[in-house]
């Protein structure tokens, strides 16, 4: 029976889609059967981040409106046969789907999968409500900066109010050298402010940009990049493993540089 995991944030551009794609890949690499649903109707992106954009025939709204069967809208990832995508409609808006549609859809998928990941759109309106309606667990993504943390706090409150809490936190795009010189909020700062459980810290990593260009999420390369390593670790934590948080803020000295030759810095 699947766990429905909704990735949300309030603010746009903080890394929800990147996180959804990479967690889906990391979980599937771990042998889990995963389906991800793009909840961003009208602004779909999960398809391109996963590199599956050329294979879309039907979408979420087609399923909801009965133009196709659920199975027909599920795209199987050829790289990872246990990974599926249900894309969003591009030419419709969020009101084409209701929260109860999402609950029904997920109930149909649950018996077949171990994980159902939902990529939430930005905002706190219909698309957000749709995305959290079927959730068993909500992951809130934030960046270490003022507006993103503030919006995350709002979202965490709304998730609690909808009785979908407690939300869990992913800090994305942490830049260790900015943190070191006191120009970026630390993970501890953010945790103290938001007072929710942390599931992972993903460093700022140019490999995310490069891999997104290619439509090959960093997590596909296992632990070769720091961001990929971080997503792998989060996936393991979601599966109940105790994976220690690696320190991204250690001082950049000779020894840690030497040490880093053998070890990735992601958390």
């Amino acid at each position: 029976m699947a766990t429905v995991l909704t990735v949300t944030s309030g603010k746009g551009g903080v890394g929800k889609t990147t996180t959804t794609a990479n967690l889906a890949v990391a979980l599937a690499l771990g042998g889990q059967k995963v389906v991800c649903i793009d909840g961003d109707i009208g602004l779909r992106n999960l398809d391109v981040v996963l590199g599956l954009e050329n294979r879309i025939v039907y979408d979420l709204v087609d399923v909801v409106e009965g133009r196709c069967r659920l199975r027909q809208a599920m795209i199987r990832d050829k790289r990872l046969p246990e990974l599926f995508l249900i894309p969003a409609a591009q030419t419709r808006d969020k009101s084409a789907v209701s929260p109860s549609d999402m609950v029904r859809l997920c109930d149909e998928l649950r018996p077949e999968f171990e994980w159902i990941l939902i990529d939430s759109p930005a905002g706190i309106e219909r698309g957000f409500r749709n995305a959290i309606a079927p959730a068993d667990m909500c992951l809130v993504v934030t960046n270490p900066e003022v507006s993103s943390v503030r919006d995350a706090d709002r979202i965490v409150g709304l998730i609690e109010a909808e009785e979908k809490g407690p939300a869990r936190l992913i800090i994305n795009r942490l830049n260790p050298s900015l943190v070191r010189r006191g120009d970026m909020l630390t993970a501890d700062d953010i945790l103290e402010l938001l007072a929710i459980e942390l599931v992972g810290i993903v460093p700022e990593d140019e490999n995310v940009v490069i891999s997104t260009n290619r439509g090959q999420p960093v997590a596909l390369d296992g632990t070769k990049s720091r961001a990929g390593q971080a997503f792998q670790n989060i996936a393991r934590r979601l599966r109940g493993e105790k994976v220690p948080f690696l320190n991204l803020e250690e001082k950049q000295n000779f020894f840690s540089k030497l040490f880093r030759l053998n070890r990735s810095e992601g958390a």
Partner: protein, 87 residues
């Protein structure tokens, strides 16, 4: 390096610490739906109401908004002057 030293000596305020302090206040406002100005008025009214009943020392009053987990809490410490019987 200089920034690091300053921080160690607690001299220069970093942009991160500024962000933290600003966020603390913003989150209080957002969570309680109280502007800083409304919070100030609230505190003053509490003091006024209490002083109708007991003799308090206005200089030793502390009313703070604190955070416990995700809960905001208004904590008041209002010492009452022991002045025998009043009223």
């Amino acid at each position: 390096m200089a920034g690091w030293l300053d921080r160690l000596l607690g001299q220069k305020e970093t942009s991160a610490s500024k962000a933290r302090e600003r966020l603390k206040l913003v989150l209080i406002n957002d969570r309680t739906d109280l502007t800083p100005e409304a919070l100030e008025r609230l505190k003053n009214e509490i003091v006024t109401v209490i002083s109708h009943y007991v003799d308090i020392d206005p200089n030793n009053i502390r009313i703070d908004m604190t955070q416990e987990g995700r809960e905001q809490r208004l904590v008041a410490d209002i010492p009452i002057r022991s002045s025998g019987h009043r009223r």
